[in-house]
Amino acid sequence: MSYYFAIVGTKDNPLFEHEFGTFRQGGDGIARFRDDARHMNQFVVHSSLDMVEELQWTTGQMYLKNIDRFHTSYISAFLTPTNIKFLLLTCPDPTSSTLLPTPVPTPSSTASTASLSRSTTASSITNTTAAAGSGSAYATSYNPTAPATEDAIKNFFMDVFDAFVKTSMSPFYALDRPITSPIFRARVAASAKKYL
């Protein structure tokens, strides 16, 4: 299981990023995102900001739980009172290629008889299901809405929020500025080790 954590400011500007792996089930805490898929994390997390904004005014809760899914990646969100977003991407099986967009089979010929187009859609469906199925047993066993998972992520977020409030109390930190403190990063890593 690999995680990508990002703090996004009120103007959708990134403030902080951190990647880590699980320590549960004998994990060593190292993120195993593939190099060619790593940049996708930023896109996926960024695209889930729309979901956060949809929920922002409908609930007063800070922890928004699992809000979005992209292939085998799940995104959980947390909103601080000052509307800073904490986003955590959970990828149960980062080594699979499903994080990359599945290549949509292009119709080989431009001849568009009704039967042919139907057969291409059918084949594309089987392709995607096959890709999702290949995501190993990890992906299928991971349940983002299980109470234990939700609580673990909530505790992680609350811990980071604690460190974030301390950061924001500093007179040398202004809202929406990137967080550069190495101690903050260490705190995030410690919370990750403790809860995820």
């Binding site: 409908t58 609930t59 007063g60 809760q61 800070m62 609350m158 301390k166 924001s168 109390m169 190495p182």
Partner: protein, 229 residues
């Protein structure tokens, strides 16, 4: 772990080692605050062009405090609500509507800053965008005596800045938050005969904080109202 560019205090404790709820009930000496506030006014008064400019500067000094207090106070309600459920935590600690936000300001924020809730909260009859918070005798003004030629100056503009910071931080953008003497400007110029109302005679320092939200905030409020949330 010595990191270049980062200096540790001699006891090796950074701000991250301090507990956020420990200073919850701590009170500051009023004399030391009064001294600090005098210096702040003196600082703000340098090179200002007029009273409006001075109030703007006091407002700007309060603004970052509001942003920080919003996070801090809601952090405390959130961390304490797990054991005891407060009225705020019923729908979550973040205020998403104007009324809960203003209630947060007049009760939680006011109690934290001044040790008591604000004296009144009213909605302006003239405009849906305007709300008024009244304080009968603002703590910040208790040792301030405004000179006659600056009679319209209200140093509670500093508190107005704090309110503005809270509103803006919570996503309720304001046009401006200003502090006004309740009796108008009559007191300084002509002996305060126009004030009239009994409350104003009883509380000569009565201050009204006028909060003017931006249009889009009221629009969003209406939309949420219609959606029944």
């Amino acid at each position: 772990m010595s990191t270049p560019g980062l200096r540790y205090p001699s006891n090796r404790k950074s701000i991250y080692d301090r507990h956020l709820s420990r200073s919850k009930g701590a009170e500051l000496s009023r004399a030391s605050f009064a001294y600090l506030f005098v210096e702040m006014i003196g600082y703000a008064q340098r090179r200002v062009t007029g009273i409006a400019d001075l109030e703007k500067r006091l407002n700007a000094q309060g603004y970052p405090i509001g942003l920080r207090l919003l996070d801090l106070l809601l952090y405390r309600t959130a961390s304490s609500s797990s054991s005891s459920s407060s009225s705020l935590s019923a729908s979550g600690p973040r205020p998403t509507r104007i009324l809960p936000l203003l209630q947060f300001i007049t009760t939680t924020l006011w109690r934290h800053l001044f040790g008591r809730p604000a004296d009144a909260l009213e909605r302006s009859a003239a405009s849906a965008q305007e709300y008024m918070v009244t304080d009968n005798e603002p703590l910040v003004n208790s040792y301030v005596s405004v000179p006659r030629e600056m009679s319209s100056l209200n140093c509670a503009a500093f508190v107005a800045g704090i309110i503005e910071g809270v509103c803006d931080g919570a996503g309720f953008a304001t046009q401006e938050v200003t502090a006004h003497w309740a009796g108008g400007q009559a007191e300084g110029t002509g002996g305060g005969g126009e004030g009239g109302a009994a409350a104003e005679n009883m509380w000569p320092g009565r201050t009204i904080f006028l909060i003017r939200f931006k249009e889009e905030v009221v629009e969003r409020e209406d939309m949420l109202e219609k959606a029944g949330r």
